[in-house]
């Protein structure tokens, strides 16, 4: 006795499960996001820190900023290059990056990340 039918069914399920990302990729695979810099940001050329650092670790920095500002009342951030910034998501970050959907959401949606910044902060009105 071989249970051929059941084994083949099992193999099909196995293959479908592991091949699903490939099948999905063949049907639809959106292009990588292109976050749009606002004119103001473009003009500034430099963010608070270097671009690479900001791309990889901005969440970490925002987390520290929040803790420092709310818990320790420290509202000045001294960047690596000595420049001082006000610790504020809305007044510093969003001042330049003033379009959430064209900037923040681009990568966040792509990577399936849902940050909880906006549970407290109000996103700036899009112009």
């Amino acid at each position: 006795m071989y249970n051929k039918g059941k084994i083949i069914t099992g193999i099909v399920i196995f293959v479908l499960f592991f091949a699903s990302p490939f099948l999905y990729g063949l049907v639809k695979s959106g292009p990588p996001p292109e976050p749009e810099l606002s004119p103001k940001a473009k003009e500034a050329k430099l963010c608070v820190e270097a671009k690479e650092y900001m791309v990889e670790s901005h969440m970490q920095m925002l987390n520290e900023w929040r803790d420092e500002a709310i818990r320790n009342g420290k509202r000045i951030y001294v960047a690596t290059n000595g420049k001082e910034y006000t610790v504020s998501l809305q007044n510093t970050c969003m001042e330049c990056h003033n379009n959430k959907s064209k900037f923040c959401d681009q990568c966040h949606n792509y990577a399936g990340v849902s940050p909880y910044c906006w549970e407290c902060h109000i996103e700036p009105k899009e112009k």
Partner: protein, 329 residues
């Protein structure tokens, strides 16, 4: 000995991409090896299952773990001793999703007296469940990097997994549980003398590999950090057969990807195949209905027997003496 072989093997597996995944090496570790590994995994897995499947099941020999179905007024246990297909499905579901047999586990102690006592011993069951489910959750959550746009169930799973909202990026329960469970399974092998005695390199290797895999993932996500957008671009490229190597992805990513590639390529040739085997184990996946439904053995062959006639020829006179009926006078 086995433990050191495995340990250094995994160390080497970490170092190889650390050195190799640079420049053109990124194409090897980012594209070639992952494709080859996936091919080996899928084809190897199917090959093993087909190999098992081509081997017949000559006898129906379920291990019965409860009262059989007999007289109508006797209560039977359809899950531990199924007599129907429905019962078998139930038994297999319990086995696969809840590790039913492992749940039975006890620990024997021989005390003075002598007194043999049986203690409840559910730790292995707990750790095994935690390990497997955490692995499943972690794996499914990786689909957010496999698929664009991200399917809804992945986002949902993500928000459940990170509900504690510790840190940023949010700490995911599944990754911690996976790592801790794997470490427990490793320590247990080392701490129990009997287990240490039976453990082979093939037992330590997957554990070290998975610990390294989970460790590199956690390191990448919470400490070293890489540009997730580029990572996803690479991964989606692989899955949509338009492979690219975006600039500037950290080495930790290539380590993580290489460890995964090794794991899945190793899978079909190792004990990890228990994942497929558990479905095909004849002591679990058959109903205990031999007496009601005849099971066919495809290689059943005639054997030499001692027939009644031969028997009577041997003993006819003696049989007649005590009045036993005989065929031939």
């Amino acid at each position: 000995m086995g433990i050191w072989v495995s340990f250094f093997a995994v160390i080497a597996l970490v170092l190889i991409p650390l050195v190799g995944a640079q420049g053109a090496g990124q194409y090897l570790f980012g594209i070639v090896i992952p494709y080859v590994a996936v091919l080996i995994f899928i084809i190897g897995f199917i090959y093993r299952v087909v190999q098992w499947g081509k081997t017949p099941v000559p006898f129906k020999i379920p291990t019965t773990g409860g009262q059989m179905k007999s007289l109508p007024w006797i209560k039977s246990n359809p899950l531990d001793n199924p007599s129907s297909t429905g019962g078998v499905i139930g038994r297999m579901a319990l086995e696969v999703f809840a590790f039913r047999s492992l749940f039975r586990n006890t620990r024997v102690e021989l005390r003075e007296g002598p007194k043999v006592s049986y203690g409840s011993n559910k730790w292995l069951w707990v750790a095994a469940l935690a390990f497997h489910y955490a692995f499943l959750v972690v794996f499914i959550k990786h689909f957010r990097l496999f698929m664009e746009p991200v399917p809804g169930f992945v986002t949902l799973l993500d928000s459940v997994d990170g509900f504690m909202e510790i840190g940023l990026p949010r700490l995911m329960m599944s990754s911690i549980v996976l790592l801790l469970a794997a470490i427990y399974l490793l320590l247990r092998r080392l701490a129990v003398p009997q287990l240490r005695y039976i453990s082979l390199a093939a037992d330590y290797f997957p554990l070290f590999l998975i610990i390294a895999l989970a460790g590199s993932g956690i390191l990448m996500k919470y400490f070293l950090r890489v540009d997730l957008t580029s990572v996803k671009e690479l991964v989606v490229g692989l899955f949509s057969f338009r492979p690219t190597i975006p600039e500037g992805i950290g080495a930790i990513f290539y380590i993580h990807l290489f460890l995964l590639s090794v794991l899945i390529a190793y899978f079909p040739f190792s004990k990890l195949m228990h994942a497929g085997g558990v479905f095909m184990s004849p002591t679990r996946n058959m109903p205990n209905d031999n007496r009601a439904k005849r099971h066919i053995n495809p290689w059943n062959y005639p054997v030499k027997v001692h027939t009644y006639d031969e028997y009577e020829d041997d003993f006819r006179e003696k049989m007649k003496e005590v009045g036993l009926p005989v065929e031939k006078e």
